[in-house]
């Protein structure tokens, strides 16, 4: 059975449901404190869950990205182990430069939402599309172009970059795994399909090798049908977000 470490930085608040979602697909999940790194390299993968690591001081994810534990995670990612950051975990991974990871520096940031309806923190259900044509550790169980119903909950979720050429590379490398779309799967650039004004509707980016993912939406909050609005009569059966965790399990087999 694959073993995943769920990293608990001070201020993280999604560790329990993230661990449950990992265990729901038959992997083992341990919640590991940021300052307890004794056996961290013994895990097969690492998930950085959502929250407010280090109070989001300066900018979301910046401080945690500099935490010593991230050096270990970087090394393990280079070895090909699976690393996934969700929401604040996404911000941490992007601030550490692992994503998009085309150069050895921070190339992107998660900027404050642009949203005509609610300013600041915004929590709602949206649609994302499996946009990547290549298979990677996170979409093995997804069909090409599959549209998923998942929630977002963030104030700084707008993928942004100063590097105008970067998007071209990301598209060419098939690194734009998840993009916000409307009900029918169109990558519509306007609110509400694009809930935060993210650059070309980016919701999640993988590294070139396809073993690291940074995504703003929360698949662990859509891992049971019970959690999906209007679908609770389906009870504890698998929700759309679970496929991402199933993909990780298959990849690690």
């Amino acid at each position: 059975m694959s073993k995943i470490a769920v990293i608990l930085f001070p201020g993280i608040n999604c560790e329990n449901e993230t661990a449950r979602a990992i265990e729901s697909v038959g992997m083992k999940a341990d919640i590991v404190r940021w300052n307890d790194t004794r056996n961290l390299d013994s895990y097969d993968g690492y998930v950085l869950p959502g929250g407010w690591s280090y109070e989001d001081r300066i900018r979301a994810g910046v401080i945690a990205a500099k935490d010593p534990v991230m050096n270990i995670i970087k090394e393990e990612a280079e070895k090909g182990k699976v690393v996934m950051g969700i929401c604040n975990g996404c911000q941490i991974i992007v601030e550490s430069g692992i994503i998009p990871g085309l150069q050895d520096k921070v190339q992107m940031a998660l900027a404050p939402n642009k949203n005509p309806f609610v300013s600041g923190f915004y929590c709602t259900w949206i649609k994302i599309k499996n946009f990547s044509k290549k298979k990677n550790a996170f979409n093995l169980k997804l069909n090409e172009g599959e549209v998923m119903n998942v929630p977002i909950a963030h104030g700084e979720g707008r993928f942004a970059t100063k590097d105008e050429t970067l998007v071209r590379y990301l598209l060419a490398n098939d690194q734009l795994l998840f993009r916000y779309c409307d009900e029918t799967g169109n990558i519509a650039d306007k609110f509400p399909a694009n809930p935060n004004g993210s650059l070309i509707n980016i919701a999640g980016i993988v590294n070139k090798k396809g073993n690291v993912l940074a995504m703003m939406p929360h698949p662990e909050r859509a891992a049971w049908m019970r959690q999906v609005p209007g679908m609770h009569s389906n009870g504890e059966s698998a929700g759309p977000g679970r496929k991402i965790f199933e993909s990780i399990r298959e990849y690690l087999k």
């Binding site: 201020g11 929250g51 609610v118 923190f121 915004y122 909950a153 609770h232």
Partner: protein, 782 residues
């Protein structure tokens, strides 16, 4: 009586005017007679620290000195109660899983005055205190709800009202979201009575196993146990603003203004919660019994004295051991200040190192927030004296039960003259425009703009979230289908006109809302927000309101046995809510009702699900538009507020629950603010306002004038039934002795059509309904 080592305040030899001057100089809330009472009670003149302690313990907030007698009217026990109102939170029975009884811990608090003065911090610290109340029972905190009342957004004070409203919402979001506690319910009203005094109430839920409750008491045989405090370093924040302003301190002027406002730190609180859960786990594994309590009003003094007194012990505390973040604080500020994010443990000395290690090393509190830590500050003692030492001297030495015993007042009451009467309005000629105005009224319109600021999904336990239905539902035991439902309710305009009926209606609506999703009402809490209890008319409004909620709780019984009351397990009283000119707010007994659902998959939302299904009404339309939105549009109050017929109401609630349990409803929505037309419109729209199925309704079932049928807020439900289930639904309602009537059907057309005979009164497209309903709150807040 024990003595002290320092100078005392010579109350005995002071004249009344001298005492009055002393009270003013020290910004005390005590009265002259109460200062003399202290001397009589402890048998000597008190020290300044002791006076400050009694000042807090005898405050309305701590002692319930005006309200205690009246609160006895409320039912507080019954078969669904695990623990009634005696500790920081109450506990209601929940599911039994694998032989283990679970309980829902619930607490309800207000933070009204701080939120009016500094709305962002006030609202944030309001949540903070309420969450601590639930956590300290040993529970996992799983949900919050926020009943909010703001002033008139179009009135004379609209700019400040909007500022307060937006800042309160932001404060709740910026505190609750980082903590990781989902918001699952809430309500919002705007009216001019809250112009100078907003209401910010908070309800928090937690889940716990019945045999794993931590009590707010020093355990048996705990003589010699350590008193450990944990959390933020103590400073001067939250020590009565005026008191602080009258002191001469070395600190800079910037500190001078912090005064009574507590300073929220959700980041530290997040880590504290996780570390505390680690202590719970360790203590359970090692079978160590600990005492645990939140530090709220009265800070260290209240928490430690109440813990020790509850166990029949005393305390010996050295103030110099308390970790502080400001120099030269007088000892009574250290003892009584209300610095946020702190708790107290009573621990055997063998277990204390474990507690210190978890907080200080594993979760690195000192690195998380400057000066934060866990520290031993004293011992539990066999003698029942409450002793505080400072610089080697005893500065307080009073019997602990005298300190916590409080005082009582019997307040005068007198019925307020109310001159409300029914208006004489002409029947409108254009129902379309009235319908849209009602939907656009901020007290009716969609609150999405507010609750989308809140994290409704964190913890992954959501089943039904705000806006989707009349109550929110969480599934708090992962893997199990047990659901906990929550609704918070009260209509201030009803209570303005008739406090008794307003109280009754609040309880009935809270129960209807819980029933409308299919859950059985199991328990309640109240937050009683009123004016000045020293004014006989205001106190009478309080008493009448409590009578109303008590009657409703007793008569709308628990469905489990059909006779026990739905008990109040915790609550809060907030007096002195009034305008600058001294006019009281609308009497506001805000009710939270918790419901239990064995199988959440059976829950229904309000959104219409199918074309060509039937719409039914339970609950006769009556000429009860007093306090209605319709009258508000005409700038009228009216007189006839909805009256609840207890037996009928109870039976209707039971029948609705039975129908949902049998899977017979496609959707269900209670009738409240705005009346029948609003209910049907909201069913068409759904919480996300993305509904695509319309409805045709006929008013031929009633002989009332059309505007009264459409806008009366008489209690009731509308529900959607597939035609194949109509007979079963009829049978269930008949069994409960309740008449229902078919009022229309759902249609493929994307419109709402209302007819009387062959006259079309309302014909509106869904897009028109949507625009009115989704823009009302933005109009009020922006």
């Amino acid at each position: 009586m024990g003595d002290v080592d320092i100078e005392k305040v010579q109350i005995t030899s002071m004249s009344d005017p001298d005492i009055q001057q002393f009270i003013k100089k020290n910004s005390l809330a005590l009265k002259v007679s109460e200062c003399r009472e202290i001397v009589k009670l402890i048998g000597r003149d008190p020290t300044l620290t002791e006076i400050h302690m009694f000042n807090i313990e005898w405050s309305e907030h701590c002692s319930y000195k005006s309200s205690k007698e009246t609160l006895k009217l409320l039912p507080t026990s019954g078969p669904t109660v695990i623990m009634g109102p005696k500790e920081d939170s109450g506990i209601i029975k929940f599911a039994k899983v694998d032989g283990e009884q679970y309980g829902i811990v619930i607490s309800h608090e207000s933070h009204n005055h701080p939120s009016q003065v500094v709305p962002y911090e006030g609202a944030a610290t309001g949540i903070g205190g309420n969450v601590r109340d639930v956590l300290c029972m040993g529970a996992r905190v799983i949900a919050c709800a926020d009943p909010l009342r703001f002033g008139d957004p179009n009135g004379t004070k609209k700019n400040y009202v909007k500022y307060v409203a937006n800042s309160v919402v932001e404060g709740i979001a910026c505190y609750g979201n980082p903590l990781g506690i989902p918001v699952i319910a809430g309500d919002v009203y705007f009216n001019e009575s809250f112009n100078d005094n907003c209401l910010v109430n908070v309800v928090t839920l937690g889940i716990i196993k019945e045999n794993e409750i931590f009590h707010s008491a020093a355990p048996e045989n705990s003589d010699g146990y350590d008193i450990v405090i944990v959390g933020k370093a103590t400073d001067n924040s939250g020590f009565g603003g005026a008191a602080f302003a009258s002191l001469i301190l070395d600190e800079s002027e910037e500190e001078y203004n912090k005064g009574a406002v507590q300073v929220p730190d959700p980041f530290l609180k997040n880590v504290l919660i996780r570390a505390t859960e680690a202590v719970f786990k360790e203590a359970k594994e090692k079978k160590i019994v600990l005492g645990f309590k939140d530090m709220g009003a009265g800070g260290i003094m209240c928490a430690t004295s109440e813990l020790c007194d509850a166990g029949g012990f005393g305390a010996d505390i050295d103030i110099d051991n308390i970790h502080i973040s400001m120099k030269n604080l007088p000892p009574y500020i250290i003892a009584c200040g209300e610095t946020q994010e702190r708790f107290t443990w009573i621990s055997p000395s063998s277990f204390t190192p474990t507690i210190l290690k978890i907080y200080n090393e594993e979760f690195e509190l000192p690195n998380v927030a400057e000066g934060a830590q866990a520290t031993v500050i004293g011992k539990v003692t066999k003698s029942t004296g409450y002793i505080l030492k400072h610089e080697g001297k005893v500065i307080c030495n009073v019997p602990v039960n005298m300190l916590t015993g409080g005082i009582r007042y019997k307040r005068d009451k007198k019925e307020m003259k109310r001159n409300f009467k029914e208006p004489n309005l002409k029947e409108p000629s254009d129902y379309n425009s009235i319908a849209l105005k009602v939907l656009n009224n901020p007290n009716v319109a969609s609150k999405a703009m507010i609750y989308k600021h809140y994290d409704t999904e964190v913890q992954g336990l959501a089943v039904i979230r705000p806006g989707e239905a009349d109550a929110g539902i969480q599934a708090p035991i992962p893997g199990n289908k047990a659901g906990v439902a929550l609704s918070v309710d009260h209509n201030p305009r009803y209570s303005r006109i008739n406090p008794y009926l307003g109280g009754v209606a609040a309880v009935a609506e809270a129960m209807r809302n819980v029933a409308a999703v299919g859950a059985i009402p199991y328990g309640m809490t109240d937050c009683l927000n009123f004016g000045n209890p020293e004014v006989p008319e205001a106190f009478n409004d309080f008493v009448e309101s409590v009578k109303g909620i008590a009657d409703a709780a007793n008569k709308l019984c628990w469905k489990g046995d059909g006779k026990s009351p739905v008990a109040f397990v915790s609550g809060n009283v907030s007096f002195y809510n009034e305008s600058i000119a001294g006019k009281q707010i609308d009497p506001s007994p805000v009710i939270a009702c918790m419901g239990y659902m064995e199988d959440y998959t059976k829950a229904v939302t309000m959104k219409i699900k199918e074309k060509n299904s039937s719409l039914f009404l339970a609950g006769e339309r009556k000429d009860e538009l007093g306090g209605s939105v319709y009258y508000e549009l005409h700038k009228e109050n009216g007189l006839n507020v909805p009256k609840i017929e207890f037996e009928k109401e109870k039976n209707t609630i039971y029948a609705v629950i039975d129908c949902i349990d049998n899977g017979l409803f496609l959707s269900c929505h209670d009738i409240s603010d705005g009346g029948l037309l609003t209910t049907v419109s909201e069913m068409i729209l759904g919480g996300e306002a993305d509904g695509k199925i319309g409805a045709e309704v006929s008013l031929d079932f009633s002989g009332l004038r059309n505007d009264k049928i459409l806008f009366s807020e008489s209690s009731g439900f509308v529900f959607e039934v597939n035609d194949k289930n109509i007979e079963n639904v009829n049978n269930i309602f008949e069994r409960h002795g309740v008449k229902i009537v078919k009022i229309g059907k759902t249609v493929e057309n994307k419109s709402l059509i209302v007819q009387k005979g062959s006259d079309v009164l309302v014909k509106l497209e869904i897009d028109e309904l949507k625009k009115a309903w989704t823009t009302g709150v933005a109009r009020a807040m922006r």
